[in-house]
Symmetry: C2
Subunit: 343 residues, 2 copies
Amino acid sequence: MLQNDLLLRTLRGEATERVPVWMMRQAGRYLPEYMVIKNKYGFFERCQTPELAAEITLQPVDIIGVDAAILFSDILVVPQAMGLEVELIESKGPNLPNPIQTKADLARIHVPNVEEQLGYVFEAIKLVKKELNNRVPLIGFAGAPWTLLCYMVEGKGSKTFDKAKAFCYTQPELAHTVLQMVTDTTIAYLKAQVKAGADVVQIFDSWGGLLSPHDFETYSLQYIRQIVAALKDEVLTIVFAKGAWHSLNAMAATGAAGLGIDWCIKPSVARELAGNQISLQGNFDPAKLLAPIPIIQQEVTTMLNAFGKGRYVANLGHGILPNVPVAHAKAFVDTVKQHVFNV
Amino acid sequence: MLQNDLLLRTLRGEATERVPVWMMRQAGRYLPEYMVIKNKYGFFERCQTPELAAEITLQPVDIIGVDAAILFSDILVVPQAMGLEVELIESKGPNLPNPIQTKADLARIHVPNVEEQLGYVFEAIKLVKKELNNRVPLIGFAGAPWTLLCYMVEGKGSKTFDKAKAFCYTQPELAHTVLQMVTDTTIAYLKAQVKAGADVVQIFDSWGGLLSPHDFETYSLQYIRQIVAALKDEVLTIVFAKGAWHSLNAMAATGAAGLGIDWCIKPSVARELAGNQISLQGNFDPAKLLAPIPIIQQEVTTMLNAFGKGRYVANLGHGILPNVPVAHAKAFVDTVKQHVFNV
């Protein structure tokens, strides 16, 4: 039995004493304790060594006091497990030296046996669960197929992922084949995460907002829908498609328990679009954690009152920035924990 | 008297025979004729030599057959005229080696005499007008103060402009001083463009969509409002704040004649948010011009029917990409010109 199950109850739509809070990328570079590990080991070494991944995952629970742990890993372990070479160049981001470009490249990827290829993730989850000792729930995650295709085709980060989009618009059949392979892998991957102990899973569609509403349905949402459908009897799922405000209603209809939203939408508008039968998660501007603490406290309070009590998980609208002072991250979390609703 | 005044009549809300069409960045790298000039002269040399700027401005009118010319220039000529050093590094984008960081940096910028500092722009406008010989209208433009502040503080392009945002959130008074200086400069700059012959002016807020709805009002829209108010008795203005769908209604209330929208919103939703008293401009996904021509024709037709007849200017949702084949750009424009509404 979890000692703190605020997140789970909120995602189920049950009443809670207060709003649960965690932060995307909470196990990351703003923490000096993370930097110690980062300076000793390479990126994928940290991901692939269960003891390191577990230690990093637990840091924000111990240091910041968040209401959930989220596994330290990376969305690109999936394309890696599918057969693509993925490098992470420090301060430059991901690099895939041989991206997918033509039909012939399909020969280089496959739907893997996740237990064999991604066993280190499940080992890390088991370790985290043991060390958490039921203090807070553990969130597992995966990238949405569209976001993974962006990297698999573009080969690196991009503002607009035009290459990935051109791939879809010129070779739609091939794009759908890749997206379905990623979807099948992701379903098996997330099921194995749940089997290993993940209490909640989040699907990150970081680049969903680059697509038109119609293309979002075509190249992203139909695959997210498959993933949620395959998981919803086993685990609570949160879908976070950054920027895809236009499809909040359609995402709410997938059967997900929660929807992540970014800071570029008013809480009241997000609630209106998503309806009342789903929890919302967000949506503090990550850059605002660079403001002085009294401003953070004031703006977090405004955010909490705007979302109101119930069916709401406090979080940032995107990952925490590396240059946020720890005291500011803590002020964010503490303000949520201490908030008293007037209603 | 203009031979083709479709754009002006559409912006005034008058009936037209067909939908006018132009493309953001239509005078740009996808045109081989532009590349010839680009390979001979540096970026600011092209902007600051009226004969070159005029020649480049006219290219898409002659080659593609758009219904309006837009002056070849850059939004960063304004911070440059205000006293900041601005370099354009080919294939890397803008670089401001000494960005604004503290109050002391205010000493390095000033509200310039635009006739003295930016005279080359007005000379280019006069040349273009002469060579256009009333074929189509000429659009002048400027960056929105928020977008210019992004570069003036961050010093270069960025996905998220966190430094610029942190500047605003930690030193709001200083930020507002800079924004007001940029606003005052921009009003004088656009008035002088109109005096030189610009028939329409567009305000580009490329980074408006990075702000929350509340911060967009605080750091962007209140300054755009000042600019539109200062200009609206003299010229038709178009406001394009990319990604700021949440404020379409507030932007419509500025007195602008048109609003640019990106492809991440359905035409019907944009119309509902903006109301019926303003023209909409957009919103084709620039990456879709990389698709085969029959797909372009089909999707442009869908777009046109979705916006419907009247109060609509066909355009892309952002600048044309450098790798778009000329025939594809022409297919976009021709499909608009040949479209027959069934209603």
